[in-house]
């Protein structure tokens, strides 16, 4: 059974940016994008099921999480979120990139979705498939960590 082309195209247009950004914020650009791709492929292969979901984006986020962990188990926590390249390194505050690596994946995803991409708490909660209050908690802890990280650096 093939999905109706325009239905699926609309679905991807709706879901893809948030899904990709959430997974990229969690796992970094390369693995995040690949896992988002994998989740969308799953939706394509199981279109009847995917279209009937209450919160398709949250479900696909979990599909992507599974794909990411299957693909590259457990070495993600140590990998740098933003890979510095010589030309573009100045784009990103190096100390903050360091600080972001210190927070957990969930906290990082929450803080980047809300404070980086500007999504609302409710949207971020839907994407990550957790409660709004949990998102807020993740963000508070991540920001506290970033602040202390930056202040310590400021003294030196």
């Amino acid at each position: 059974m093939r999905p109706e082309d325009s239905d699926f195209a609309d679905f991807v247009a709706e879901v893809e940016p948030r899904l990709r950004r959430a997974l990229v914020a969690t796992h970094g650009a390369t693995v995040g994008r690949e896992s988002a791709c994998a989740a969308l492929v799953w939706a394509w292969e199981n279109w009847e099921r995917a279209r009937a979901l209450d919160n398709p984006i949250g479900y696909l986020y979990r599909v992507g999480q599974t794909a990411a962990s299957r693909d590259r188990p457990r070495d993600l926590a140590t990998g740098r979120l933003v890979m510095p390249t010589t030309a573009d390194e100045r784009d990103v505050e190096p100390r903050l990139a360091g600080g972001l690596e210190g927070v957990s994946q969930q906290q990082r995803a929450a803080v980047l979705l809300v404070h980086g991409y500007g999504y609302s708490l409710r949207e971020a909660a839907a994407v990550l498939d957790i409660a709004t209050a949990t998102v807020r908690m993740h963000i508070d802890r991540a920001l506290a960590r970033l602040r202390s990280h930056l202040e310590v650096e400021d003294v030196s």
């Binding site: 093939r2 082309d5 325009s6 699926f8 195209a9 991807v12 247009a13 893809e16 940016p17 990709r20 950004r21 990229v24 914020a25 650009a29 390369t30 995040g32 994008r33 690949e34 896992s35 988002a36 791709c37 994998a38 969308l40 492929v41 799953w42 394509w44 292969e45 794909a67 299957r70 693909d71 979120l81 933003v82 890979m83 573009d88 100045r90 784009d91 990103v92 505050e93 190096p94 903050l96 990139a97 972001l100 803080v111 980047l112 404070h115 980086g116 991409y117 500007g118 920001l143 970033l146 602040r147 930056l150 202040e151």
Partner: protein, 427 residues
């Protein structure tokens, strides 16, 4: 502090967006056709990345060309045939150089012969020649919208630049091969009716500018009629066409918010001499000479942060600016009166993409950053300490009177790309 963190998080997320561009429908459905027997993720890993323009057009392609792509996917050859499904005009705009060149070819057309009594030139004319032939050529160039300067029969550098523009735009002469001389053959063609049509018609009652970086030609269209055609010089390029990186000592006499400083500050800064493609609007302008940190500009009209269309004494055949669009001084006198603030500017950059294909980020100019190799000083006050005032006993190495400024890692408390205010006037 929180505000600062927000800005930095925004910078990181923008960077992540750049590193992980949107996923196209091709990547999902095209992969499906081969992923029957092997795990999905490994399949995805082996995919070649989509071409940049395909990515940026992802949504549009996705909607317009969904049917075509689906058929291709079913046939199992989606990836191989990504760029050759010209089912609808919108689907392929800018997705290949070939498409771009066909657009170019359609913009300037020489209509069939009908009119006027033709003359012929006694000899090839070029810079330095004074004759009635020159006058006739100047008259004709003026009629066509080129600006050869006063019609006085004197072939000077303004006339030479108008001829360059004619060669590059109408005769399609490659930029480096323009001669600036008018042969009799060229003159015969010039006397034919020549129509120069906009690549992006905007309708009557509108004014817009089109800037062709590969040709180094800019045109002001009023009611879609070419009113002013100018040879220009944009951001200096490396031999391979990429923007040249420059490092210079800049003289700042205003602070980041435009406030006057007590004394000028010298900073060693670098950036790429980039004239990015995209669609812009004229934002602000100055009358007369404007002296920015990078040098003087006559009558600048800005359209992309510090990038302006402005008059300059030196408008060579090759791109030579820091990113601005240089005009001949004669043209710069009339140019500001032709365009209004808010008029559209379309820029075709060296990479051959269509203006619509650029993301906002790609359209940003290259913002200045501190020179990583700078060894001296941020201001004149810190350097003026004479070496003799330093007691030899307190400094083990008396030769270090020059204050050393560390590379940007230590000083960059603000990321360069997120602060447009620091970018006034990229000459």
């Amino acid at each position: 502090m929180s505000h600062e963190i927000d800005e930095l998080l925004a910078a990181i997320s923008a960077r992540l967006d750049q590193d992980a561009p949107p996923i196209t429908l091709d990547e999902i459905t095209g992969d499906h056709s081969v992923s029957v027997s092997t795990p999905t993720v490994i399949q995805l890993r082996t995919l070649s990345p989509a071409s940049p323009s395909a990515r940026h057009f992802a949504v549009r392609r996705l909607l317009v060309a969904a049917a075509a792509v689906l058929l291709v996917a079913v046939a199992g050859v989606a990836l191989a045939t990504r760029s050759d499904t010209p089912s609808t005009p919108g689907a392929n705009v800018g997705s290949s150089v070939a498409a771009a060149s066909t657009v170019v070819a359609s913009t300037t057309t020489v209509a069939p012969t009908t009119t006027v009594q033709k003359t012929s030139l006694a000899e090839t004319i070029g810079k330095g020649v004074i004759s009635d032939d020159v006058k006739a050529v100047q008259q004709r160039l003026t009629e066509l919208g080129f600006v050869p300067g006063p019609v006085d029969g004197v072939f000077g550098s303004t006339t030479q630049q108008a001829v360059w523009a004619y060669e590059k735009l109408v005769l399609k002469t490659p930029r480096a091969d323009a001669t600036g001389r008018v042969t009799d053959e060229m003159w015969q063609g010039m006397q034919e009716p020549v129509t120069i049509a906009p690549r992006r018609p905007t309708g009557s009652g509108t004014t817009h500018m089109e800037i062709y970086v590969p040709e180094q030609v800019a045109i002001v269209f009023i009611d879609d009629v070419a009113k002013l055609i100018a040879h220009i010089s944009t951001g200096e390029q490396n031999p391979d066409g990429t923007p040249k990186n420059w490092c210079e000592t800049l003289n700042y006499d205003t602070g980041p918010n435009g406030e006057a400083l007590a004394e000028p500050v010298l900073k060693q800064e670098c950036a790429d001499a980039k004239t990015p493609g995209g669609i812009f609007k004229f934002t602000h302008r100055y009358e007369g000479k404007r002296v920015g940190p990078l040098g003087g500009m006559m009558n600048p009209v800005y359209f992309n942060y510090g990038i302006a269309v402005h008059g300059a004494d030196n408008v060579p055949l090759a791109p030579a600016s820091h990113g601005c669009v240089r005009l001949n001084q004669t043209i710069a006198k009339i140019f500001p009166s032709l365009v209004k603030t808010g008029d559209a500017v379309y820029v075709w950059a060296q990479d051959g993409k269509e203006p619509e294909d650029y993301t906002k980020r790609e359209s940003l100019p290259s913002f200045n950053y501190a020179d990583p190799n700078a060894t001296t000083t941020t201001s004149t006050t810190t350097t003026s300490v004479p070496p003799t005032t330093v007691p030899a006993t307190t400094t083990p190495t008396p030769t270090t009177a020059v204050v050393t400024v560390a590379p940007p890692a230590a000083t960059s408390t603000t990321p360069v790309t997120t602060i447009p205010e620091t970018t006034t006037s990229t000459g």
